[in-house]
């Protein structure tokens, strides 16, 4: 690969494309395309979350839709209480609903982090195929719990009638909401980039490559993996919170295993452990869905073919194909 195509420059280019596309669409008066880009951005964020566990830590979680859904429901539930003016609970203290995104995000992140702590603490006692299966099992448990919980819509889901508010923005305008989601994605990517090169990132990558060595050096692989899993769940939960506001609707499908699989597909298409891997993957996914979805309902056939091609011929995904192997100092 030529030297000038460094991953860093490629990432900046990709970030600009993701910003420029919707801006052009906005001025061309195509709000639907702006919303489509918003969907891609939010799904990318969900993938960024999983990439921390799967890419950096080698933790193949097949249950990340659970955190996506938990984040979404946190928003849906609080917003529904805000709409009805009924407090969420009254004793021992009163908790009211809210329509402020900043509060909703914080709650979504905390609740999904807590879910990840519990699920991770139990699942990380296993590894390999067992870990994949147990994370799937936990996600399915939460999925069926949501279906059978009539207070918040059960199988029918829960509507948010007016998109929640963010200071200084009109979130109902597609471009405003896109820019908000885009800013969140970029901030999280910057934080992940810093984290990867800091001590925690080193420990996590070392655990992925040689767990026994890390233990022999006196660091606990379990604690490192659990911390990564919680951070990962929080980021995916935040994506779920944004997704709830995008659709103004949450339902158990947000937690289905299909979605867990799709998030994993983003990462594989874009490049495992690469910073912008899930961003590229999610954009490709949404583009496929949009381009082929209007032609045939079997658009996933083409997605499957693309996935197969990546796995067989381009193991580093899109980023690996363009920017080459991962470099470490």
């Amino acid at each position: 690969m030529p030297e000038f195509v460094t991953e860093h420059r490629l990432n900046i280019l990709l970030a600009l494309i993701l910003l420029g596309g919707p801006l052009v669409a906005h001025f061309a008066d195509e709000p639907f395309l702006v919303t489509l880009a918003t969907r891609a951005t939010i799904l990318a964020l969900a993938g960024v979350g999983l990439n921390i566990a799967l890419g950096l830590g080698g933790l193949v979680s097949f249950g990340h839709a659970a955190f996506f859904g938990v984040g979404g429901y946190a928003v849906g539930i609080l917003a529904s209480h805000h709409q009805t003016y009924e407090p969420l609970m009254t004793s021992p203290f009163v908790i009211n609903g809210t329509n402020q995104m900043l509060v909703l995000w914080l709650v979504a992140v905390l609740v999904s982090g807590l879910a990840a702590l519990v699920i991770g603490a139990l699942s990380l006692r296993t590894s390999g195929v067992y870990f994949i299966m147990i994370t799937l099992a936990f996600a399915q448990m939460i999925y069926y719990f949501a279906i059978s919980w009539p207070a918040y819509g059960g199988e029918d889901g829960l509507s948010i009638y007016v998109r929640n508010a963010f200071p200084g923005l009109n979130t109902l305008r597609p471009l405003d909401f896109f820019l908000l989601c885009y800013a969140v994605l970029i901030v999280v990517l910057l934080a992940q980039w810093k984290m990867t090169g800091a001590r925690f990132g080193m420990a996590l990558q070392a655990v992925r490559q040689n767990e026994g060595r890390v233990a022999a050096l006196g660091l606990s692989p379990y604690r490192i993996k659990l911390a990564a899993f919680v951070i990962s769940g929080m980021v995916t939960g935040l994506a779920g919170a944004l997704y709830a506001d995008l659709n103004r609707f949450v339902s158990p499908t947000m937690m289905s295993w299909h979605l867990s699989g799709e998030i994993m597909v983003f990462i594989i298409l874009g490049g495992v452990a690469r910073l912008f891997g899930p961003v590229v993957g999610a954009c490709l996914f949404v583009l496929f869905e949009h381009a082929f979805g209007s032609v045939t309902e079997h658009w996933q056939f083409f997605l499957g073919a693309a996935l197969l091609a990546v796995v067989l011929f381009a193991r580093g995904g899109f980023i690996g194909l363009v920017a080459g192997r991962v470099r470490h100092d």
Partner: protein, 250 residues
């Protein structure tokens, strides 16, 4: 006589009917190299694993600094300052040589939760890593990925990582394996000086190295210590000659 840093007594371990460690008594005193020799399958590596905490003993005690540590796991023992090197190099393959030693220096600080400060600008870790690499003669290869290092370089990197841990005792499992004559000679010179920093429990197949380095030698056969003494005593020990050295002398 100084108190031993490490003291094993009656240490036993079986896998089914196979006794890999059979009532072993052994100690390691400050400033010494205590070599453990024995034929293949004698249970030398298993003994190191028992001491490091990778295997749990069935019976017996392990005292470190006068404290019973049998109930501590591998991670806790490493934190107390028992640092081992591996018979088959166990490194972080995608990190550079320097990255591996920096990670060991980070581990010594028990530091996991750093999220912002970049290790590539962490002078403390870099300086410590470069110093350790320099001591084993690898500073010229600091930026090379482990997967691109030669076998001998990986062996030295193992030692450098152990140095960066600044341990109380070294547990070294065949550090010379595959080093070649020149490499072994250099490493012998290095370990000779290292014993003053921390005592070394050394498993080694290279008899020249053992006889040059060891203050004391214990001979392990079928999980049992059959002889113990200085290099000269072991060299002339009749049982040892038949059980072990005999094969090599032929």
């Amino acid at each position: 006589m100084t108190e031993p840093v490490l003291e094993l007594s009656g240490l036993s371990k079986s896998f089914g009917a196979l006794k890999v460690t059979d009532a072993v008594d052994l100690d390691l005193r400050p400033g010494e190299i205590h070599a453990l020799i024995g034929p293949n399958g004698a249970g030398k590596s298993s003994l190191i694993k028992l001491v490091a905490g990778e295997l749990a003993a069935d019976a017996g005690s392990i005292r470190f600094d006068g404290r019973e540590i049998s109930d501590l796991d591998q991670i806790e023992r490493a934190r107390l300052g028992l640092t081992r090197t591996f018979q088959v190099s166990s490194l972080i393959p995608e990190f550079s040589a320097r990255g591996n030693v920096m990670f060991a220096a980070q581990a010594r600080r028990k530091s996991i939760f750093g999220f912002f400060r970049q290790v590539s600008r962490d002078r403390e870790l870099i300086d410590e890593a470069m110093e350790a690499l320099d001591r084993v003669g690898l500073s010229g290869r600091a930026a090379v990925r482990v997967s691109e290092l030669s076998h001998g370089e990986k062996r030295l990197l193992e030692i450098a990582m152990a140095l960066a841990m600044r341990p109380r005792i070294f547990l070294m499992d065949e550090p010379m394996a595959g080093l070649g004559q020149e490499g072994s000679a250099k490493l012998i010179g290095f370990l000779d000086k290292l014993r003053t920093q921390a005592p070394i429990l050394l498993i080694e197949h290279d008899m020249d190295a053992v006889f040059q380095l060891a203050d004391r030698i214990s001979v392990l056969v079928s999980g049992k210590i059959i002889a113990r003494g200085t290099a000269d005593e072991i060299r002339n020990h009749p049982e040892v000659r038949t059980a072990y050295l005999g094969e090599d002398a032929a």
